[in-house]
Amino acid sequence: MTKVGIYTLLRLWTLLFAADLGSTMHFGQPVLLYGGLATLAFGAIGLLTTLRLGRIASFSIIVSSGTLLAACGMGVASATSAALFYILSATLAVSALFLLVELIERIGHDGYVQPPSDDLPAGEDTNLDDEELPLVGRAFPVSIAMLGLAFLSCALLIAGLPPLSGFIGKFSLLAAVMAIAGGAGATGISAAAWMIFGLLLLSGLAATIALARAGIWQFWTMGARVAPRLRNAEAIAVLTLIFSCVLLTVYAEPVMRYTSATAAALHTPATYIESVLSKKARPGPTSGEASP
């Protein structure tokens, strides 16, 4: 849903205000660029305000929209290509996180109780903690361990941390932006590129902090001995989404080639215009074309 706007933008903006149109070239570019930056900053600030996973997921959508808007606003094919890759990864990751939120919040509320492993008598070999009580780790039930791993993957994807596709997307964006910032060019664009560079890193940091806090709170402090009851279908849906991100990581090269070809096509709208206009218009249906 949130990506529809970006789609329209990519489809029409480069088409209507193409680079070779003189005065209307890249019409509204500063609006896109700084609007994107503001959105990005807003999302990053929002991420830091909350421990609740649902809100974190929503704010990370804002962050990703802002990132995309700013990246498209650069008006450069390499940035657009990176943004296209980023869309894929971010969409999959956030959907997985949204599906996970409800499952994770089920921990400790509903399900079966694990036999308590804590009150085993301290043996001769057991370590003691500062209060001279036995210091024994808690084992995670399998379902919580699975949820934990899934959450960890989502967190890495959303924060753009290695090694999953979130990192590749973010890295390609950063590299494209840096090529503009470091290279010689219009100073206005260069300054904006530096701002995107910094904000991208900072928003990654905000996501890292937010997700680490939420994860610690959900998985470590709840003290939940109650493993949630998960249905297979729920688990499969989440795992499929995450697995497709893993595939996206492994096969990043072909996807990258596709996105950069797409971006190149978007930035040379002449091809598209010609292919549309050169076809003869098909005759419309004879009766009134009233159906919506």
Binding site: F27, G28, V31, F42, I45, G46, L47, L48, T49, S117, L120, G123, D125, T126, N127, L128, D129, E132, P134, L135, V136, G137, R138, A139, F140, L152, L156, L161, P162, P163, F167, I168, F171, S172, L174, A175, M178, A179, G182, L201, L205, T208, I209, A212, R213, I216, F219, W220, T221, G223, A252, E253, M256, R257, S260, A281, G288, E289, A290, P292
Partner: protein, 750 residues
């Protein structure tokens, strides 16, 4: 057995070379991690043997590479990943990476043996070993990376896995806090490093390490050098727990002791100095490098040693001494001298061996007595003579006592500070500060080694101390033995490896240096003597004061509590962002709608204010009274709907429907039946949806008083104005665009 299985199935058979391919060496720990995660969670012996076997095989593979890298050779392997981004999996081992690979795997093998005996039988150790092996793999990935972005990938992995390892006992608050702090600090560093590496790649034109190493002069002359340097240094200094980022390391002591022994001797914190050394030929040699790196190193060296003297927890003494020794290594790399860099590489090895053995000894004491409090532990030599002897020798190496490996690298360090040429104040200050730090080191080494093993045996320990099992002592004994061998016969034992490791760091040709134990009675030796004797005196003085209950905390540093500052900053960040969000966002629909419409209007005006308004050229239809009447009804219905929306929802919906119908009729009037049909469908659907949604809306607000405050009136007027402007604006925009289009567009129908 499992490990062998993997090596056989790996690509090794397809390659002709006798040595293990680097990819297999890297994948081995990760595969081992998956296998251990699937084994029964409390099967200590099986898990430890699996982990041990993986590390031994990887260590064997690493050691067998030595002949190929001894004379400056480089082994490279590349697998294409995302070549269009310049991001390939590229593995590269030279002498320096080889040294790290050997340290990581050998100490890893020793730690997995040690952890078998350290962890309680009730601990779920499958998770422990799975993360441990994953960490080993990540660390191998860092040192074997031939591509800087790939290095960042593994770098962040080490941060992530160390977070999970520090939080192993996750039900404890200190583990949660320590893990979170380590993750946030090193993760921030990792992001900065990513930024720095991308800048570096932009300067060089490639992320391949070989290309970057070859472009040193170009990098240092580039205008972006300073920005890139600062970002990369933030990455390296956070990882190596250098001032001002040092505070996470003592908190990471909440990890199980085998993990501390691994993370803080050969791996995690060494990744930072690894990076400094790796990029030394590229980035060093400038003023900025000298002041930033050696400044951070010197501060950390002194601060860490100073705080370490006052700690009462065995592991915290070691934590602060680790910080201090890492400061020493950082300082050596910051001095812009080839000899100092060689000394830095040498001290990396020495510190890894003696610090791992010391952490393990501390773990033995903790495990056998149930406490780590130096004030309670006394006279353990009687009950655990072997562990005591080993710990004593290792702390001697930490203090820099002659005939042990720590002495050699410390001598090299002293020599460097004495012969450093710079500003006179630096020339004088460096040796003095170095000696002071060495005195501190002797004091805390004595507190660790002497305090707990000598004196009258303590009686109130939680457990009756006894000697640890033999296999728990074996790893310590092996490490201490290597400290001794290197200390007594350095040239023959470590000489070739050090030469191979240091050569790539200094850029190919080694400077003249001597590894002899005895250099004659010169100034560095005098500094050592002063440090040891003053350290003894200082230790006795400090103990007398502490026995009288004074000097329990490091004086002068009460305000500089890194942990409190960090936690405070985190809380403040959250509060600020909450305030920021409240001032930026709105919870109420009314405000949101107002903002959206106002901004849209503003932007549209900005974009279209210079387009002239025209009426088009088509002939106009005459106004008919019936049509005007229709529109009056429609407009009345619309206004009525707006007025009733708050109080009579059903009425409002009905009125809205009527407005919609008028629109339909308008379409028909102007002979656009298709639009009219569409509009009807839309009207029906929205009205139905509204009716269905009615019951989900919040409770209706009854109008309590007829009087409306002037503020509300003002708001309503404001909203009305905005609505009029919005409607007018969109009409104007329509006129501008559509009428103009009609005139300008040529007829395109055939």
């Amino acid at each position: 057995m499992l490990a062998d299985l993997f090596t056989c199935n790996g690509p090794s058979e397809r390659l002709e070379s006798t040595a293990m391919p680097l990819v297999v060496m890297l994948l081995l720990p990760f595969l081992g991690s998956v296998v251990t995660a699937l084994l029964p969670t409390r099967a200590r012996t099986a898990l430890a043997s699996c982990a041990g076997l993986v590390s031994v095989v990887a260590a064997g593979g690493a050691i067998s590479l030595f002949p190929r890298i001894r004379d400056g050779g480089v082994i490279r392997e590349t697998i294409a990943w995302v070549p269009s981004l310049g991001l390939d999996l590229s593995f590269r081992i030279d002498g320096f990476a080889w040294m790290f690979a050997v340290l990581v795997t050998v100490i890893g093998a020793l730690v997995s043996l040690y952890a078998r005996y350290y962890m309680s039988p009730e601990d779920p150790v499958a998770r422990f070993y799975a993360f441990f092996l994953a960490f080993m793999g990540a660390m191998l990935g860092v040192v074997m990376s031939g591509n800087l972005i790939q290095l960042v990938v593994f770098w962040e992995l080490t941060s992530l896995v160390s977070f999970l390892l520090i939080g192993y006992w996750h039900h404890r608050l200190d583990a949660q806090r320590g893990a979170r702090m380590a993750w946030i600090v090193t993760g921030t560093g990792g992001l900065a490093l990513l930024g720095g590496v991308i800048i570096l790649g932009q300067i060089v034109g490639s992320y391949q390490l070989d290309a970057v190493l070859a472009a040193g002069a170009r990098v240092r002359a580039h205008p972006l050098y300073s920005v890139g340097l600062v970002l990369i240094l933030i990455g390296a200094l956070t990882k190596s727990a250098q001032f001002p980022f040092h505070f996470w390391l003592p908190r990471a002591m909440a990890a199980p002791t085998p993990i501390s022994a691994y993370l803080h001797s050969a791996t995690m914190v060494k990744a930072g100095v690894f990076l400094l050394a790796r990029l030394w030929p590229v980035l060093s040699g400038t003023e900025q490098w000298f002041w930033l790196v050696s400044g951070a190193g010197m501060t950390t060296l002194l601060l860490g040693a100073y705080i370490a003297m006052f700690q009462n927890d065995l592991k915290r003494v070691l934590a602060y001494s680790t910080i201090s020794h890492l400061g020493l290594i950082t300082l050596l790399f910051g001095l812009n001298s080839q000899l100092a860099a060689v000394a830095g590489v040498f001290h990396i090895m020495n510190h890894a061996t003696f610090k791992a053995s010391l952490f393990m000894a501390a773990g033995v004491v903790d495990h056998e007595t149930g406490t780590r409090d130096i004030r309670r532990l006394n006279g353990l030599m009687r009950s655990m003579p072997r562990t005591g002897t080993l710990a004593l020798v290792a702390s001697g190496a930490m203090a820099g006592v002659p005939l042990l490996n720590g002495f050699l690298s410390k001598e090299m360090f002293f020599a460097e500070t004495v012969f450093f040429t710079a500003h006179p104040s630096v020339e004088l200050g460096l040796p003095v500060l170095a000696t002071i730090a060495a005195i501190f080191a002797v004091v805390y080494s004595l507190r660790f080694g002497y305090d707990i093993f000598f004196g009258p045996p303590s009686t109130d320990l939680p457990r009756q101390p006894e000697e640890a099992p033999r296999w728990m002592r074996t790893p310590i004994a092996l490490l201490v033995l290597s400290c001794l061998i290197v200390g007594v016969a350095p040239t023959r034992s470590i000489g070739p490896s050090l030469a191979a490791a240091a050569r790539p760091v200094v850029g190919g040709t080694l400077p003249q240096y001597s590894l002899a134990v005895w250099h004659g009675f010169n100034l560095p030796f005098v500094m050592s003597l002063v440090a040891i004797s003053a350290g003894f005196a200082g230790y006795l003085w400090l103990r007398r004061h502490q026995e009288q209950g004074r000097l329990q905390d490091p004086p002068l540093l009460a305000a500089l509590n890194g942990r409190r500052l960090f936690e405070g900053a985190l809380v403040r960040l959250t509060l600020w962002s909450r305030t920021g969000l409240r001032s930026l966002g709105a919870r109420r629909l009314q405000t949101q709608m107002f903002t959206i419409v106002a901004i849209a209007l503003l932007l549209a005006l900005l974009a279209s204010h210079d387009i002239p308004l025209e009426w088009g050229e088509r002939e106009r239809l005459p106004a008919s009274p019936a049509f005007v009447f229709l529109w009056v009804i429609g407009a009345t219905c619309a206004v009525g709907a707006a007025m009733m929306a708050k109080f009579h929802r059903v009425v409002a919906i009905t009125l809205m429907g009527a407005t919609g119908l008028v629109t339909c009729v308008t379409f028909v009037w102007f002979s656009a039946p298709d639009l009219a049909l569409t509009q009807i469908v839309v009207e029906v659907v929205t009205t139905t949806l509204f009716l269905l949604g009615l019951r989900w809306l919040p409770m209706r607000i009854e109008q309590t008083s007829a009087r409306v405050s002037s503020r509300d009136k003002a708001r309503r007027v404001r909203d009305l104005l905005l609505a009029i402007c919005g409607g007018g604006g969109s009409t104007r925009g329509w006129c501008q665009r559509i009428l103009r289009r009609v005139r300008l567009l040529p007829r395109c129908s055939p």
